[in-house]
């Protein structure tokens, strides 16, 4: 049975992605990621969803040679699109229940 985890500690995140504390701090300052726990950077803990966006942000910055402001805006928009797609799907489904024929 593989272990599933909802959170990732800063030490593991930095080790995995060769990410420095200062780079991580920048991402938090630009609101690309928000720790869910930890008062100092060494103790920060992120949830898996944030880790996913954080890694995406790193790749986009590196591969498209973007600055942090652009990356932050891009991540915001991508997140928002994902949320809206999800909401749209849910609302369509709910609307379908209301619009279906009364014959059921």
């Amino acid at each position: 049975m593989a272990t599933t985890v909802l959170r990732i500690a800063v030490s593991e995140l930095c080790e995995q992605d060769e990410l420095s504390h200062s780079l991580l701090l920048e991402m938090v300052q630009y609101d690309i990621a928000r720790p869910v726990a930890g008062s100092s950077i060494e103790d920060w803990v992120f949830d898996a969803t944030t880790a996913h966006w954080l890694k995406k942000a790193l790749r986009l910055r590196r591969d498209l040679e973007l600055d942090w402001v652009a990356v932050a805006m891009l991540i915001d928009l991508l997140r928002e699109r994902e949320r809206l797609d999800q909401e749209n799907q849910q609302l369509r489904h709910r609307l379908g229940r209301f619009l279906e024929d009364d014959g059921q």
Partner: protein, 313 residues
């Protein structure tokens, strides 16, 4: 192996200036970046484009490539670097942690194994994280649930990039929500050299339920009611994820009205959500003349204009 024409991949002339090549790379990188383009083949295209840029952006490396291109032009399909070839410009490659084509590695290194010019340097790179969609039924969010996951991880199969099918048993924690991601440590793509594997990310997608919809941690259920039930009030048995409950519908209820039943929703991190019963007034079929007469009597006595709000115009 096939010779890769990096100029053709970027759509530029072999004599193009670096600035022109850079512009072409930027345009194509924006188009095919797998974080921006969900198409299946986007990642492969992006890797090709990034590899081409990695080679052509530096004058020395480009000069080396141009030399090989002149030589390799005659052997497009079955290219091998010249005997004794060893690149003087291999080194710090940026994209995909050194995940380059066999063609690239045979020229510039960045992989590991026996090359034409001897043994290449060992390249340690952590394996890629892999994300897959994980359909989860609403009933499975009530408590920790064990599920089997089948997925594919990229792997080198002799000379070409193939994939290995993998099966895992994982625990989906209670209270997961639609769109949330959970991590399975070390179950992503294998690392190169001595580096560890990547992680597997499960993107939770709640499977549409035949009865319930989800709004945060609240569950919504559409409750069909007859016009007289809405008018006079009634009690109906309504299903929840944990059995049926009795719901009181007040007289004079309307279609679309929501009735909240506290604590009968989904498990959340801060407690349980609510069940929202949404009333939907449905019309019965006109089964007999007698029923039709009763509707007629009602229309005469009720004196109700549902479109009064439209005004007289």
């Amino acid at each position: 192996m096939e010779f890769k024409d990096y100029y053709q991949i970027l759509g530029v002339a072999p004599e193009a200036e670096t600035s022109e090549i850079k512009a072409a790379y930027r345009r194509l990188a924006r188009k095919y970046h797998p974080d921006l383009n969900p198409e299946k083949d986007a990642e492969e295209k992006f890797k090709e484009v990034a590899e081409a840029w990695e080679v052509l952006k530096e004058d020395n490396r480009r000069a080396e490539y141009d030399e090989l291109r002149r030589y390799g032009g005659k052997h497009r399909q079955h290219f091998e670097p010249p005997p004794g070839w060893r690149s003087a410009t291999g080194g710090d490659f940026q994209h995909f942690g050194g995940d380059f084509s066999e063609f690239f590695q045979s020229i510039f290194g960045g992989g590991f194994g026996e090359g034409p010019g001897g043994v290449w340097r060992q390249f340690d790179a952590r394996g890629q994280d892999i994300e897959i969609q994980m359909p989860v039924f609403l009933e499975e969010t009530v408590a920790d649930t064990r599920k089997q996951v089948n997925y594919e991880i990229p792997a080198m199969d002799r000379d070409s990039l193939g994939s290995i099918k993998k099966t895992l048993n994982v625990t989906i924690p209670a209270g997961v929500t639609d769109g949330e991601r959970i991590r399975v440590r070390g179950q992503g793509a294998p690392g190169q050299g001595k580096a560890p594997p990547g992680d597997l990310y499960l993107h939770i997608r709640l499977v549409p339920h035949p009865l319930f919809d989800v709004e945060g941690h609240n569950l919504l259920i559409t409750v069909p009611v007859a016009p007289w039930e809405a008018a006079l009030g009634t009690k109906v048995m309504v299903p929840t994820l944990e059995g049926k409950i009795s719901l009181t519908i007040a007289s004079g209820s309307k279609s679309g009205q929501k009735l909240r039943v506290r604590g009968k929703g989904l498990v959340g991190k801060t407690g349980k959500g609510d069940l929202l019963a949404v009333l939907k007034v449905v019309m019965p079929p006109l089964v007999s003349r007698e029923v039709q007469d009763l509707w007629r009597q009602l229309s005469e006595k009720a004196a109700f204009d549902p479109r009064a709000g439209w005004g007289s115009k």
